[in-house]
Symmetry: C2
Subunit: 219 residues, 2 copies
Amino acid sequence: MNVGVLGTGFVGQTIGTALVEKGHRVMIGSRMANNEKANAWIEQKENAFAGTFEDAARFADIIFLCINGAFIKETIKEMDSALFAGKIIIDVTNPLDFSKGMPASLLPDYSNRWSLGEEIQQLLPDAYIVKALNTVTARLMVNAELVNEGNHQMCICGNDTVAKNKVKHLLAENFMWKPEFILDMGGIESSRLMEAVVPYWLGVMQVLGTPLFNYQIVK
Amino acid sequence: MNVGVLGTGFVGQTIGTALVEKGHRVMIGSRMANNEKANAWIEQKENAFAGTFEDAARFADIIFLCINGAFIKETIKEMDSALFAGKIIIDVTNPLDFSKGMPASLLPDYSNRWSLGEEIQQLLPDAYIVKALNTVTARLMVNAELVNEGNHQMCICGNDTVAKNKVKHLLAENFMWKPEFILDMGGIESSRLMEAVVPYWLGVMQVLGTPLFNYQIVK
């Protein structure tokens, strides 16, 4: 599978590395060509490539969006939306705002009644946006078994059932998420819920003193 | 213990009934005297009383606040704040807004960077507000053992450690919450986090088809 990872931060690099190790071809994309972090990341890796966001989108069968939430809108608007048509975009982003101190809040434009997931779907109407993985720390995203033998929940949402099923399969095959723990929360508007829990997650992380945790729904 | 329960809805009645059954004296308070629901509730119960909000506050050693979130501010402003001075108020309220359809949102005044918990503490600076129980369904609030043998988390927050410890004790003694599963999230500003997860909770409830569930943090 050819995977495009948009964003060269810790989340993008962690996802890219995990997918290369699983045998996929990965292009990590950055705003400008010759990004230092991207160049460092591809060194000594087979099937790892670097390019612009548009290069990575063009290269990809499936795309992970790992850009800082604050810059998503402008970034997508600068790109040719046709590059994303018909492709699945796994949206890992969060609209976090640390500028007001703790507890962290959401960027007001993406809080309560609107979300990044919906914004991205609106900007790229011909792509299949699937919100996933945004509620756990990067290391756990790519290896669910790091916590409680993989027995904990991951919510996903998006407007297209086929796309969601493909993502579910991808998470299970590559990142050890157990399908029975993946909860389909419905359409992309449920991104509001999945993004709104992240400040809470940060609060719990502070109390526990580790980001390596997740929630298991119990009945 | 003399308990005041402010609010005659399902949550208030459920909490009141559970506390009467545990041997406490409970006054359920409503905006106006001679509230029909309150009068029906006290029938055939020993140690159950009805009165106005102010009557219930005056009567109480400890107060449960179970009023519809949308009316909290006006309701508290109408009351004599001295009645609450030095008392613990367990704030069970949520600022939910269903008027925009699903997913449910929060009342904008109490979303992202402000919360009901903080508003109540600001309106009643001499009371000890402890946010608790607002993240589960009423039946589970008063009997944690209904789910997974009581092995699941309850967050609390508030500015006063002694008050929080008393509430923790009360939840353990009366409602079967295991102290080791009660997570102290810090000051009352963490109400923002605890209220923000409730729309997510409603979404999960829709998917699961039952309100009888909760989260267990796994590491």
